[in-house]
């Protein structure tokens, strides 16, 4: 299945442009290598964690950007740092614990010691032993620190970049900034827990999925049956200037049958829960939106579905596999009722979620369908062929916009 290296040269995006996605984009191993460099290690801000995950000085937690492993740390002065998890000596993944608290990182192999900012602080036997051995004159600690990344933080969310010249985070988020600030309004966040899935599909299928409101009313019988998300509800699809970010906004309305109902074959009008406590959403954000799903290039989904709040971090493992790392959270000022409400509604999301199981399963079916079809292409024509904002859900515009930006970044 490894594609011959000259494939990539041979490969051309279909002439229909934004209304098509060639299936080789989901499985070519070289394309994947290039994505790791140009998309994740390129001019982008990557989500690495919540400040609340490393609240104290000395706290650290492992994370990843593309297929590169990093560590998020908080130094003694409270500053956040993101370090490549690769010893500067001979490359050992020095940080083994998922998270913890420390003053130094000591690589297990030869105990080179780094501080929380990634600076090299000690090399055992630097001066040799009994006047023998040791490091040469030319060896300077300053030349052998850990690779560090640029860090940006806004209202409790931490991003990092391999790029020296990526624009400031706020400019990067652009038109999506208000939607970002809607959930991250400065209130301290409370960590509720983690979920992790290994999904056997290309990482881009996850973005397609969340940028595609068209599927939500059709695939997610649970959502539809409870009117949590319906094609006939007031809704919007908004993007930033580049098309790389998007937000899907929807408002739960009365479930009046509409001409659209007919098309929702799976709709179970009479479906009710034996224990309705699972679903008793309360309004907590200004405005009428009850759902707002942000997709932030290149590795983050911010989910606000009723009262479940979660970050979904995309960690590609290879062309046909990615890790989906969920961080569920609430606010420090949640009362017990809201805390329990979020935990109950969490049954809709994650690896066993009433909604998200549909998506992880369909992503596998997508990969199974496209794997062997390098010469065919997906069709993105719902809602027309353009890539602009819409005031409705019956469109694939955000997916088209995503690939428009993707092609620019990848030079395809």
């Amino acid at each position: 299945m490894a594609a011959p290296s000259d494939n990539l040269i041979r490969r051309r995006w279909p002439e229909q442009g934004t209304s098509r996605v060639p299936y080789w984009a989901y499985s070519d191993p070289q394309l994947f290598e290039r994505e790791m460099d140009l998309v994740f290690a390129g001019r982008s801000w990557n989500f690495v964690g919540l400040a609340a995950e490393v609240p104290e000085p000395g706290d650290y937690r492992q994370s990843a950007i593309g297929n590169r492993k990093v560590v998020l740390t908080r130094d003694e002065r409270g500053e956040l740092h993101v370090l490549l998890n690769r010893c500067a000596h001979r490359g050992v993944k020095f940080c083994r614990e998922r998270q913890g608290n420390t003053r130094f990182f000591t690589c297990p192999y030869h105990q080179w010691r780094y501080d929380l900012t990634g600076r090299l602080r000690a090399v055992p036997f630097y001066n040799g032993v009994k006047q023998q051995g040791g490091m040469p004159e030319s060896f300077q600690y300053a030349d052998h620190g850990l690779q560090t990344l640029r860090v940006a933080q806004r209202n409790g969310v931490v991003f990092a970049s391999f790029s020296e010249d990526v624009e400031p985070l706020e400019d990067y988020l652009g038109a999506l900034l208000p939607w970002y600030d809607r959930v991250f309004d400065g209130r301290p966040l409370r960590l509720l827990g983690y979920s992790r899935q290994l999904i056997p599909s290309n990482w881009k299928l996850m973005f397609e999925n969340i940028k595609d409101p068209y599927h939500a009313s059709l695939l997610h019988v649970f959502l539809v049956s409870f009117g949590l998300f319906r094609a006939d509800q007031p809704s919007r699809v908004l993007m930033d200037r580049t098309g790389r970010h998007a937000v899907l906004v929807s408002s739960k309305g009365e479930q009046a049958a509409s001409e659209a109902t007919r098309d929702m074959a799976n709709l179970k009008e009479q479906f009710t829960l034996a224990d309705p406590r699972l679903l008793d959403p309360v309004r907590e954000f200004p405005g009428s939106a009850t759902v707002a799903m942000l997709t932030l290039w290149p590795n983050l989904i911010v989910q606000q579905q009723s009262n479940t709040l979660a970050m979904r971090q995309l960690i590609p493992r290879g062309p046909e596999s990615f890790e989906l790392a969920w961080v569920f959270f609430g606010y420090e000022d949640d009362d017990e009722a809201m805390r329990v409400r979020r935990l109950r509604q969490a049954n809709l999301m994650g690896p066993a979620g009433y909604v998200s199981v549909d998506d992880s399963e369909v992503m596998k079916l997508s990969q199974d369908g496209v794997r062997e079809s390098v010469d065919a292409a997906g069709v993105l024509e719902m809602g027309g062929l353009d890539t602009g904002d819409t005031e409705h859900m019956v469109t694939e515009a955000a997916v088209r916009a995503f690939y428009k930006h993707y092609r620019e970044v990848m030079g395809l």
Binding site: R196, Q197, L198, I199, V221, N266, L273, A274, V357
Partner: protein
Amino acid sequence: MSLPADLALRLELETLYADYVHALDDDRLEDWPKLFTEDCFYEVISRENHDRDLPLAAMRFESRAMLEDRVVTIRQTLMYEPRYLRHVVSSLRVLDALTPQIACEANYAVFETLMDDPTRVLNVGRYLDRVVREDGTLRFSSKSCVFDSVLIPNSLVYPI
């Protein structure tokens, strides 16, 4: 030779666990909630969250009714590839035999088979349970499936 009470109890509990396992593996999901009390608690939670007192669970149900809802959604609303599940359970241990609540634990391994792939290990972990006797029948009043398998292969459709 007569049998110490605790061993007899364990034998009874093993019957409950066997009923639980076969209800799930034989796809008799509708029988599964019947093994719980009406106000039961059930969760499938990662060992990472459990050990750090993070409450988030992959499944969190607070009544038999919520279990029944899970069964209905599996049957009617969820979209997933067909699969077989198979449990192996061992090392059942009574931690506290005091009535009304018996505390016990056991190890489990769940194997998943998709139509076009060899069987794989889906999820392994520990049951941390409480059992009560209701008019002669043992039922779970609380069941926590604490799983080691923190990186879940795609989806968890069925209970563990």
